[in-house]
Symmetry: C2
Subunit: 348 residues, 2 copies
């Protein structure tokens, strides 16, 4: 192929976020109904009483998943869940999805049925409808592209840009487990390659594997916040790692942050497994990704309402933009947060 | 890869429509707001006064396009247009798109900018907003997945299933040109492979090449019908070939059809080029695809309103389901219409 360009800038020089930033600078909005375009977990479209939230994700074989250890039904389930997670992160209710898949002739009907069954299972669990899509062929692997459509009242939608100084920084669930699940699966794949007769050693790691293979979107947390009468000032879902998600919230809200390492919720199994792999558990959380937990900020006055929630942890607070984005480590030292989130464009 | 299935049914046995039909049988609709799920040009979602139309298309390198002769800017433009065409085919106005692309490291930033520039040009031309997307890497080629979101009043939306006996079958523009454009490009690619020093012979074929490389969605036809005070009883866009689109309308409307070969609008250049390739021009129209014209049915009483429209041709009429789907050939012989539309799953 010859693009006949004199210049050639490698995409890896920019990374995913750099590329998106570069490309989206040319976008102009012309529709009155477009409330929010690129730059959040989803776009927001005005429809009168209700606003529509739209979000899309693409999963590519060999980049986002490895079919040597990911069952197709789980893959189908996860591919839906990661999209729903983005809708919940806008404090909206997902209602419909459209699904496009490209398949090579390597896939049989039975294989596609498994994939589809997982998608429909996720639809059932979250009460949403699969309303359309496109099915086509690919020359090599499997590509899944899903768009989720949600709805919310205008006043309920939570953007990334609303965090304010002195807000509490909160996270749902625990972090790093999906990343450690991936490490285990990758290790067992290598072992299997070396010696196909060895049985995989997955014992006692169920929680980590489930977090990697069958993650859930935190619909329950969105509902809990509503019950508690709390509307977050900003929110994002954690798909790329805590560090880069915090930086997204801060840069869009034009604020700084102080994150306390000791407050980060890490399951003991995640912690011990990270150690077993000679990894720093905090680094796994900051850079690992695929947790699909919700990261959000709330007004300081909400402290009483959330302090006893088992499933929400306060991990820091929002500061003035001039203070920067910092993590106070367990040892008391202070580190600048770096965007080490998962960068698919740097992978081969 | 081992799916560990005892059965294996090849996808090519079913074809695209067979696969879709098979998979979608399991879908259940639970959301009140879902007015129409799979099975039309787009899904329809209720939002009170306005209904939302959603449609999605995936384009895969090596299957849907060949970058040896398709400029990236044209590809970007076309990838948007084919989605908008689906929204117009519901008699709705497209307003927003979300775009996901998977790219291999073979693509430079400059190449992606070209692709994106074409997409934004289409957005500008049709007055729509690019509001989100996903950018990721692929191991081999380029994959583009676009979802378009449109709006229409409930009473304006036109489905595939509304054709009634004695309705006139109409089509916009002329047919078969995009397919002949593709034949020319494929021929020149073969010639170039044999002898890279030969100049491509594209002279006088501009119209065919433009129809293939830079198709337009028939926004103007939707507007014309509105001006004429005509609401079609059913409508579909022609992406796969006239034959399979007519069969879609008929099977969903539970009617038959009589199509008159002599009425099918074919540009003289399309006709002559088909002959040059030793192809039957009518077969090119019936099975070729990528015309992105609108195929629709109107009540017989609308005849006076459309008979003088330069851009709309009456090509047949709707009959009772028991009569079947027939084409009356120029010679007066009668043939059953077959779904020979473009089947991406049978391609390798």
């Amino acid at each position: 192929m010859d693009f006949d360009n004199t210049e050639r800038t490698e995409l890896s020089e920019l990374g995913e976020f750099g590329l998106i930033k570069h490309l989206t600078q040319y976008i102009e909005i012309s529709q009155e109904s477009t409330i929010k375009g690129v730059g959040d977990d989803g776009a927001v479209i005005n429809n009168g009483d209700l606003q529509t939230v739209i979000t899309t994700d693409m999963l590519v074989e060999g980049v986002h998943f490895d079919l040597t250890y990911v069952p197709l039904k789980h893959l189908g389930y996860k591919s839906v869940v990661v999209n729903l997670s983005d809708v919940y992160a806008m404090n909206a209710q997902p209602r419909q999805i459209v699904v496009s898949i490209a398949l090579s002739s390597r896939f049989s009907l039975e294989a596609v049925e498994e994939l589809y069954a997982g998608m429909l299972l996720a639809c059932k669990k979250y009460g949403i409808d699969l309303v359309g899509g496109d099915t086509t062929s690919s020359l090599s692997g499997l590509v899944i592209s899903i768009t989720a459509i949600g709805a919310a009242k205008k006043e309920d939608i939570v953007y990334r840009h609303g965090a304010l100084e002195s807000n509490l920084l909160c996270v749902s669930g625990d972090l790093g487990a999906a990343y450690m699940g991936l490490q285990i699966l990758e290790r067992e794949k290598s072992v299997f390659k070396e010696n196909p007769n060895l049985q995989p050693d997955l014992e006692g790691k169920d929680y980590l594997l489930e977090r990697q293979l069958k993650p859930e979107a935190r619909k329950d947390v969105v509902e809990l916040l509503r019950e508690l009468g709390i509307k977050p000032t900003s929110m994002i879902d954690i798909s790329d790692g805590l560090s880069s998600e915090i930086l997204h919230l801060c840069s869009q809200s034009k604020v700084g942050v102080e994150l306390y390492e000791e407050k980060i919720p890490i399951d003991p199994l995640t912690f011990d497994t990270a150690r077993e792999f000679n990894l720093d558990p905090t680094v796994c959380v900051l850079s690992g990704g695929e947790d699909y937990e919700l990261l959000f900020t709330v007004d300081l006055t909400e402290y009483e309402k959330i302090k006893n929630s088992m499933d929400i942890t306060i991990i820091g607070h929002i500061t003035n933009e001039s203070k920067g984005c910092l993590m106070v480590a367990k040892a008391g030292t202070v580190h600048e947060l770096m965007a080490q989130g998962w960068n698919p464009l740097q992978k081969k």
